[in-house]
Structures are given as C-alpha cells and as structure tokens.
Amino acid sequence: MAEAVTEAPVVAAERRGGPQRWLPYLLLAPSVAYLLIFFASPMIQAFGLAFTSTTGEWGLGSIRAMLGDDRFWPAVWTTVILLVVLLPLQFALAMAMSMVITSRLRGSGLWLYVFLLPLGVSELGAGILWYSIFVEQGWLNTVLQSLGLIDRPVIWLDYREPWRVIGTIVVAEAWRSTSLIVIILVGGLRAIPRDYLEAADVFHAGPWQRMRHVVLPMMRPTIRTALIVRTVLAFEVFATVIALGGTGTDVLATQANRAYTEYQDAHLASAYGLVILLVSLVAVGIILVALPTRKERGE
C-alpha cells in the first residue's frame, strides 16, 4: 500500500526548517488521539469483556457460552458461505461495470453515477428493497408469472429452506456492495498505461487474451485490495440478513447484536465480535498468501 503514497510537495515553510518541523505532527495529533480512543481502546476492552463472565471473573465462561449456543456454528457457516458465494459473483459484476466506466462509451459520467448509486444505499434500505422483490406477493413472482414461467407464487423467503433465503441475501448483497469494488477497480484500470493495451492490439490480442494476459496481471494489487476490503466488510453483514431472513437466519453479526440487545450480555456479544475479527484476519491472511505481489514472489 506504500506504493500509493504521493510525492508530497515541499512547501516554502518547510525548507526554512526550524520550528515548522513539528507542525505536521501537531496537525495529525487530533485524529491520532481520536483513533486511539475509538479504535485502540475498545479493541483492548473487547478482549477484556470476552474473557470475563457477567460476574466479572476472568475465564472462558463467555467463550464457552458462545460455543455452546446451538446457533453458533450455523451462524459461522452461513457467514462464510455467504462470502464464498458472493465474492466471485461480485467481482465479475464489478469488473464489467468498471470496464464500462473506463471504456470510451458516451455518458461515462452517467454510468459512473448509476453504478455507484448502491454505495450510498444503507444495508437496511437494500434489505427491504429486496424483500419487496422476494416476498411471496412481490415483484419477482409478479414478473415470473406474467412471463408464464410459474403458475403460482413461489415462496422465496421460506424459513424451512435456508438455502433459498441465503440465495436471496447473496443477490441483495451483490446488488448493494458491488459499488465499493467498482470504485477500487476503476482506479486500477485507469492506472494501466495505454502503451500496454496498445501493444496488445498491435499483436492482435483478442478481448479475452487482452484481459487474461494484460489487464488482470496489471490489476493484481488492486484486486487484492478489493478482495481484502470486501471480505472484511462481508463478515459484518447484518441488516440485510434481518430484513430478508427475519429471525430465522443467523450470521455472526446478528448473533452479536442479539447477545447485546436481547440478552444484555456485553461479554457474549464481545466474544462474537472477536470471532468476526478472527475470521477476518484468517481470510485476509489467505488472500495475502494466495495473491502475492511481484515483490513478494521475488520477481
């Protein structure tokens, strides 16, 4: 990520040296203090909470309570499965959208606006939106039936069919959160030097070869960043799950929320939080190992 650092111009005052040297640190200080209070200290406190019980004794009581919950493992699996199904779908969509934005088609500003719209949409808003589509007397059934593809409404949000509900959550999340990947990929696509693409054209590379041998290798660091960002966020999926799955489908974040708001147990909730942190770190580790940059491979 350090390669992205811009060449900061040196201002006259800096060349003069002297007392101005501490000025940047002074300017950074408020935000550093803020991040320490609101990121570092709650992080430490989260461990403290997870490894104490409601009576305040240190130990694994809260962890054990979490592991003993019938809904724990289903929540873990649903969270992981959601991510695994969602990521490839999102990347294909985001790549297509980014190509449209960076191509020389007319109205690139309009395409950019439309494709980034879901970025501003809240998780809950998107959840309800897709609820209106998947609900029994909703839009999907209306469309399918008018096309003659089904005879009677299909119950998409059937809580006895967890896979079907998970499918609807995947679609809703693909709709909502692909914009974030688009933003990152567009930056990467724009950074590919024109010469490379022209060289590909000179050698009569087809669109597929161009993609496979020029664009994707050049995009490697960008794709890695997008993967990491999206993976970390995917483990926090929350309101979409509640809007579509009600109380019948659990993920880690809904379990943490329930532990706090319903059982009033901050210890149990923190234990869930740490599990989310743990799976995030493991997933990021896998991505870093699976997609090494050239430097790391020693090229």
Binding site: E14, I183, A239, A269
Partner: protein, 267 residues
Amino acid sequence: MTARRVLGYGGAVLLAGWVLVPIWFVVVGAFSTADAVYSYPLAAWPDWSLESMRFFVTSAGVPQALLSSVIVAVLTGVVTLLLAAPAGYALARFVFPGADAYRLAVLSTRAFPVVVLSIPLAVFFLQWGIYDTVWGVALMHTALALPFVVLMVSAVFAGVPVDLEEAAQVFGCSRFGAFRRAVVPNAAPGLAAAATFAVLLSYNEVFAASILTLQQPTLPVFVLTGLTQAPLPFRYAGALFLLAPAFLFILLIRRRLLGVGGGPTLR
C-alpha cells in the same frame, strides 16, 4: 457503430437495469396505496398516492427517529471534517517521518469490525453518560468515517497548487492566513464532498447505532426494530426514506469517491 461498441452499450444498459429496476420497485411500493401494495400481481406503475408515505412519517416514533438521524449525521459530518482536515493537509503538504506509518494505520482501521468496536464503546458510553444520546452515536460514526475522510481530504489538498499558498505568503500572508485565503476557497467543494461522505455513512449505519441507543434510536434502528411486525406500506415507505439521500449525495460526490476505496488507488 462497430459490433464491439454495440456490445458495450448493450452490457452497460443491462448493468444499469440491474441497479435501477430494483430502485424503481421501491419507488412504486412507497407511492402506492396499501390496497395496491397488498394486491397480486403487482402493477409496474404506482398510483402516486402519498398514503403510505403519510402513514410512515406520522407513525409514532418516526419523526423523532428521523430528527435523531439528521442530527447525528450532521454532527458526524462536522466533527469528522474538523479532525480530518488538519491531518489531510499535513499528509498532502509535508514530507515527514511517520507519514507512511500514519497512512498505514489509517488504512488498517478497516480491519476492525464495527461489531468489535461498538460493544465496548457502549460500556464506555454508559460510564461517560453519553449512552443513548445523539452525541454517542455521532462519535462512533465519526470514528468509522474518519479514516476514509482523511484520505479524501488529503487528495483534495494535494489538488490545490502549492504555488497559490506560496504566492500568498510572498504577499505578506502568514502561514495560516495563506491557508485561509488561498487554500480553503479552492478546497471547499472537495471538503464539502468529504463531509457529505461522512453524513451519508452516518445516516446509513445501523449496527453501531442499534447497540448505542435505547430510547433515542436513529431512523434505520427504529425501522429495523419494528421490522418483523411492520405492515408492508410502512416497510416500503421506510425503505424509500433510507434510500433517498443516496440519490442526491452520490450525484454530488461520485467523482471524488474514486480512489477512496483502497490502497493502490489512494489518489
């Protein structure tokens, strides 16, 4: 027009449809009568009735929640900008040891799930007496927005030519005077966009807000809490209220969003 361009436009229209058609469905749902919402099959064109919207905004608790949401979002925007502007300026204008470490630290905050942060903060806020207040939620949202906004603001300041500032100093401005007279007017639209990003993030955020409030929920928390019992017109009108700011705000800041997302695309 070549075959490839036709294919390009075709793909673009399909992708745009994937984004826009679901939004149209929610607009239809929000502007239909309850009878129309409960009928089947649904009509693709709304009867432009304000019945559902009126029902939503006059429901007990909604006006208060909407007000809370707006106050929290504005507080978040202001506080985030006050903290991010100096930091972004330092990153854009100075070469100093630790700048890279700072950037890296800011980026790595993304690894901390909001779930892990908000629960201990609820405990702190109870002790500090700001639990279940607009300030508590706004402070949390500021923490979530700050890393992104610092990077956005730094890009904004980097885009203002240093020459302007130096010229102002040559003509007798102090360092701060030069900043105020030469930099701020040029950076203002970018700074406003960065603050807008924070406002939107806050208006949309639901997990932390649901942990940190009890009697003073923000709009998404209020809608979420009653969701399973809520009638369809309430849900659809609520969804439109949650979605509406996105249309305007993304329009205003779309170009500046490119590059906020990730490391290598920092500029």
